[in-house]
Symmetry: C3
């Protein structure tokens, strides 16, 4: 280990010496536990192929919109970072841009993760990051990535990865998941997650084609809304048969008002004909959210939702680079009213697991903790996306625990496309929990013995329990 602050054993722990000592002790209970990642955005094929990563840029920069958005805000052209398949610069040049802008990351979660990756995954002192060493580090990394112990499967072992969920289209054949499940030489469980958003949002390009195909392919010959529901049921079962335990829903908002099947049919027809109004499109989406919850009552999939993000906020950037390039912006979100139809009908069923994520952290103390502290079905989702950074994670704990305790927590979610950041993200979560619990102990609110049970439960048992792993 280097002498960088990134290697310091007390990183992220509280500064007060007495509280820090408690936190250190709590951390020992969880620091070496295996990684359970019930939601993320890696590809199962990566583990099937197990090919070496081609270069540092395509591994660490281009696919990570947390990272590229910072450079973009400083005026860097995303094409120069090879975002979305563009090739404005070659990989080494792109790396130099990143390295020479390294100062921008000071204080960010992304900067912290990168330093941790360098220190703990690649064994490179992160204090060397910067313009002057850009080429040296690029060469060192390139050499490292060529080594057999840095292929995807070997890294999974190094990371102590026990469970990893991917995010998949309902029509995905899940062949890669099947191959991994049947491979006795590969121990991590790589599970698919059912993500039907492309079929619920009439306002997105391509919706009609995709939906028509879904009904044709999986609807058991039924047409229209009946076929739509049947196709979803069938594909959920297919996912379950291939190891899925959860379905994930990136909702526009929390509306879950059900429609009669007649109204759903009517709007579906209009949507396919291209004549639905925006209000109808929203009503259709809300109805699907309700219907997916209804399906959970039968098939037992965990349901996760994350509403409230304005996708592809920059019209010009979307045109140039496509989706998921970091131009997504959260907006205000409410949970109490929108979720009432769904929770009033299904929330009292404790075998139904309904995890509420938010990017509007004001909802934690106001709505999410109160909902999860009442409904047997409702769980507090871990801080998500923009608010999965250290200070926000601390605020999350302080905003939900007093009302709802620890038992309604989803477990940590890394939600990442950046493979090598996974250990750093999970380690961050463990340190934040130790930090918060140590404060409760130091303030004589709970005993240290109890805190040591809680931290193990949060890190290890919660995700298994909530995601039915």
């Amino acid at each position: 280990m280097s002498n960088s602050h990134a290697a310091h054993p007390d990183r992220l722990l509280p500064a007060d010496p007495e509280t820090r000592d408690i936190a250190r002790r709590l951390l020992t209970y969880v620091e070496d536990l295996p990684i359970i990642s019930p939601h993320g955005h890696l590809e199962a094929s990566m583990f099937v192929k197990d090919e070496p990563f081609t270069d540092p840029t395509s591994l660490l920069i281009s696919p990570d919109h947390y990272l590229t958005r910072v450079l973009h805000s400083a005026g860097v052209d995303l094409a120069d970072l090879r975002v979305g398949g563009t090739e404005g610069k070659n990989p080494r040049e792109a790396w130099r841009i990143f390295a020479s802008n390294w100062d921008l990351y000071t204080g960010t979660a992304t900067g912290y993760w990168v330093e941790q990756e360098f220190e703990h995954v690649f064994g490179i002192n992160p204090d060397r990051l910067g313009a002057e060493n850009a080429d040296d580090i690029y060469d060192e990394l390139s050499e490292i990535l060529a080594r057999p112990d840095f292929r995807p499967r070997a890294l999974a072992e190094q990371f102590n990865l026990e469970i990893l969920a991917t995010t998949d289209d309902p029509l995905d054949d899940l062949a890669d998941h099947k191959a991994l499940a049947q491979d006795p030489t590969f121990s991590p469980r790589v599970l698919p997650t059912f993500r039907p958003d492309a079929y619920t949002k009439m306002y997105n390009p391509g919706w009609a084609e995709k939906t028509t195909r879904l009904i044709d392919v999986a609807g058991d010959g039924k047409a229209g809304w009946e076929g739509y529901l049947q196709a979803m049921r069938n594909r959920r079962q297919y996912f379950i048969d291939h190891g899925a335990t959860s379905a994930d829903h990136g909702l526009h908002d929390t509306d879950t008002t059900p429609l009669s099947h007649e109204d759903a049919q009517r709007i579906l027809d209009k949507g396919l004909a291209g004549t639905a109004t925006l209000a109808e499109m929203r009503a259709f989406e809300a109805n699907t959210t309700y219907r997916f919850a209804e399906m959970c009552q039968e098939d037992g999939l965990v349901m996760t939702i994350h509403p409230g993000v304005y996708r592809n906020h920059s019209a010009s950037a979307q045109e140039k680079f496509g989706n998921d390039i970091g131009a997504d912006i959260p907006f205000q979100m409410e949970y109490a009213r929108g979720l009432r139809p769904l929770l009033s009908d299904f929330g009292e069923n404790k075998d139904f697991h309904f995890v509420m994520f938010t990017i509007d952290e004001t909802a934690f103390s106001r709505e999410i903790a109160p909902l999860a502290g009442y409904y047997p079905a409702a769980y507090v989702g871990a801080p998500w996306w923009f608010i999965d950074e250290i200070d926000a994670m601390n605020r999350f704990r302080a905003s939900t625990t007093g009302t709802t305790g620890f038992s309604r927590y989803s477990g940590f979610i890394d939600d990442t496309r950046a493979y090598c950041s996974i250990p750093a993200r999970h380690n961050t979560s463990r340190r934040v929990e130790a930090n918060y619990l140590a404060r409760l102990v130091a303030e004589h609110r709970i005993s240290e013995a109890r805190a040591s049970e809680i931290i193990v439960d949060l890190i290890d048992a919660s995700p298994r329990r909530v995601f039915k792993l």
Copy 2:
């Protein structure tokens, strides 16, 4: 005292040794002050009868929706906890359920209060709580509750209870309050609070019958809207004559737009005929809020409001157990626009006391502190309901003081149905104030001498001043 963390003299005080020392010193100024509780949900009859509490479950569990909701979220049937008069299990069995789920309360405000009650009210080490000692503790508590020094009046003395307000229907005859006021052997002041919600919300079942009866009984023979107003005026005066100093309003939202008396009459008629629209019902409620403020200008009652809670969120649970069972969920609330009609007309009157509570803590720094920091009538209500937990109380101070100081604070409100939690709740508030003020002193923002004045003012003088006690 036991060696439990619940008995630790530094509980809830800051961990930093220097700041903790300051907090300890500040706490000595207020820890033994009498309890002033200007708003809560106990029954005056309890003190009139002064009967022994029948069993631990009916005292500590069934009526406390803070506590039962946690168990419910874990899948416990509320009927098994004897909520709302149900009898799914007998009291001892219900107690065992609670005890065997005790771990769920770690880190919650409720868990903290329960531990404090055991340690400081019943003299039972709370570390013994859990499944294994369930029956033993039940027996010990049963024995304790049979003792004369654990009857309601004796506890009031043990708690150092000086003033306690109840919450009462406008047509309540207040006989119990009268009896207590005339009883020379009972020293606490038990005051009624005028709570007219049942007559303002046309959308609630029973509104029409209750309102018709109110006008008939108290309207001086006047009919319609004129009778409604007259009945309210009369009953407020009746409450004042029986010691009331405040009227409490659980509003749907903050709208205070007045209606002309003609419009009020028209909507009242439609409401009684069952033909009012939801928009008209809301307009009627908003108008009553304005009219109650108007009455305050004449009769001097303090006006408290707490908008923004979705009541009885779970339709199925409401059907089974009725109201007030913990299925109430806050939602986003704004104060600036809704209150403008009321404050623009009455807010400049410093003899009018208008206390704004919120369960949406985002309103503290954004609207409530700015309003209370300008209008002579407006006061910042203490953290309420879901946010009366320790971390939220700390956030409250840090969100309002910089803008508005300490002088516009309502004083602590326990708002409880759980009699034995009252000392723990008030003690929590005193420790949180010491914690916050100690930090200001440690950061050289105020002197310790000034902090020691402030803490006494917050705990003792504020509630007396704001609630005109």
Copy 3:
């Protein structure tokens, strides 16, 4: 220096000794840097005339609505404080009212600033503040204000004021700014700021007259909407020619939907005829916001916005004292949707500087940091108005840094009418930055060497860079 807590070298620094030591060291890098104030409300004429301040009340009390609102909330008549030109009491009597209510300011940002002014500007021990010394202090201050080293220009030197921006009407002739720029004996740069609000808000009294005059005077003979745009362009250029680098916009909300020029013309006509609806008025304002951003693409002015304040909330007070008397109340504000038209069209231009202020601090982590962390044009505005107090400033850092780092920060803004509070406000900001950065260092998130670079960048380089100074 006195022995008051206001003189303590560790004021506002963290209490933990290790963290405090780091903060002390960081503070040394910035404590003596010159003051850069890119937005505020002083008059340039003050420096042209350079006359002695007439009395303590007119300097320190009457114009400072932060300060008078606190007294007003305690029931003091604003007329007695000589607000808005009223003369309810003479200056000495007004001073006595302030002094005898000094206790109200404990814990407030205003109280802290006043103490700092007494300690560090006037050399009076602030512990003497209070009723008993009211007259003595008034006399001492009067004497001090008569001294040549307490005239406006001399104070600017004492304050180490390098750049100060004023806020000016588009039709202002800027003669005072010109005089100062040409005066070799006066070194601070006093820059005008283009503030066109009076011409964008049809719903405000006087809009039609002002707008007609603007078009007549500056529209190059063009009429209607074309003349309006031309006049704005011309006056912006006039401001630029007189040193302006930014235009400031106090918006009702964030809507930036552009109108076709035909629609703009149509609504402009209705507005001038007094027949526009409120919705049209809002649409007109939103369109002007968009058009001002469009002009920035040509003329390079920095654009600052601060939406979401209910102005002149108390109708009765407005009638009596006019605007800007402290009765302005923030309300909920969203940024993602409203700003989308503007940012989607201009946000990718890194030469366009668009600074988003908020008084609703919930927007920091949810929308403002994510927007500024993506768009090259977008900057996170410093905490503004009600939330420029110490605890809120700390929350601001913790709410934005993890997502967006430090590079998108506007630099501190004092936004004040209270000249003598400027050093205290800027010093507060420097201490808060040291406090936050010290914690990051103590938690091993960044190195102390890096923190010492960051703090200089935040205090000195950021405002110069963002405001193109």
